[in-house]
Chain length 191, copies 2
Amino acid sequence: MKLLHEKIRRDGVVKPGNILKVDSFLNHQLDVMFLDKMSEEFYRRFKDENITKILTIEASGIAIASLTGLHFQVPVVFAKKSKSINLDGDMYVTKVESFTHKNVNNVIVAKKFLNARDRVLILDDFLATGNALIGLISLVEGAGAAVAGIGIAIEKGFQDGGKRIREAGYRLESLAIIDSMNGETGEITFR
Amino acid sequence: MKLLHEKIRRDGVVKPGNILKVDSFLNHQLDVMFLDKMSEEFYRRFKDENITKILTIEASGIAIASLTGLHFQVPVVFAKKSKSINLDGDMYVTKVESFTHKNVNNVIVAKKFLNARDRVLILDDFLATGNALIGLISLVEGAGAAVAGIGIAIEKGFQDGGKRIREAGYRLESLAIIDSMNGETGEITFR
């Protein structure tokens, strides 16, 4: 998505260690007018998939999932991260290791919000190792529901998450795929 | 907001200990079509306040803040909760005690996203003791910005947060104020 490439070049900050900071529009401050354009693009790409529900993970996926939910006119569910599991009602649970935070979280969704008739669009802001996404896929499939598509705002194409998930046969669409970043010059190469 | 009263009566679940579960539409599954109606109502109430930015707190405030941001056409910032402070750039920090989770979090906003010219609309899904809200107010005022208004989806009117904040002179508007709940019959009385 050309608009997103331009936005990342203009507002993103590349830091050493292959870190891309997009906190001015995507995951701390939210440029909701721009996020809504990205949501429209997700709608355009997945509108023929008979999506019944959108699933994301707290916290920074919630904004784009909510805006996209409005385009699809379907409910959004956000999976919660929890150190401990509070078994208040039945939960689907999976464990996700965070590369950024170097910890392991339980990721949970109440069973009543995913069912076997659902065709789920999974959305998230970033894809790198794919651990969070694989966790979300396992929650959906644990419910007997179908992963009808996966939409990502920014994929770090030099990490292997995207490759693993595409090779497993999922329809994964990233609005921007970064092939390389230069922490010294700030240069970004998109696929 | 009559529609919200009806929604809470229909989809909310009252549990012993003055707990109201609205996770089917507000804070786990998100009924984004309904949340957008609530966002329109926030816009109607605060549209003459020259709002330049919306501030909320992760995670469950993000959906309604994002949808409301679209109506106002202003950026949204969500404050982050953190056990430890990662001093990556300058942050405004405040401490917030959680009544629900019985713990204390640092609540942080990057300084670059709040400035002295901002007129901030603070939004959140719930108001009970007011601790989170008082934290957000202190972040805004710490930046020299103005709290132009405070919008809450559901206020527990039998706890003292709303009273404290109104008495301090803030314009606080809650779309639903619950005066009492009966954990045995499920009955809810709105103000």
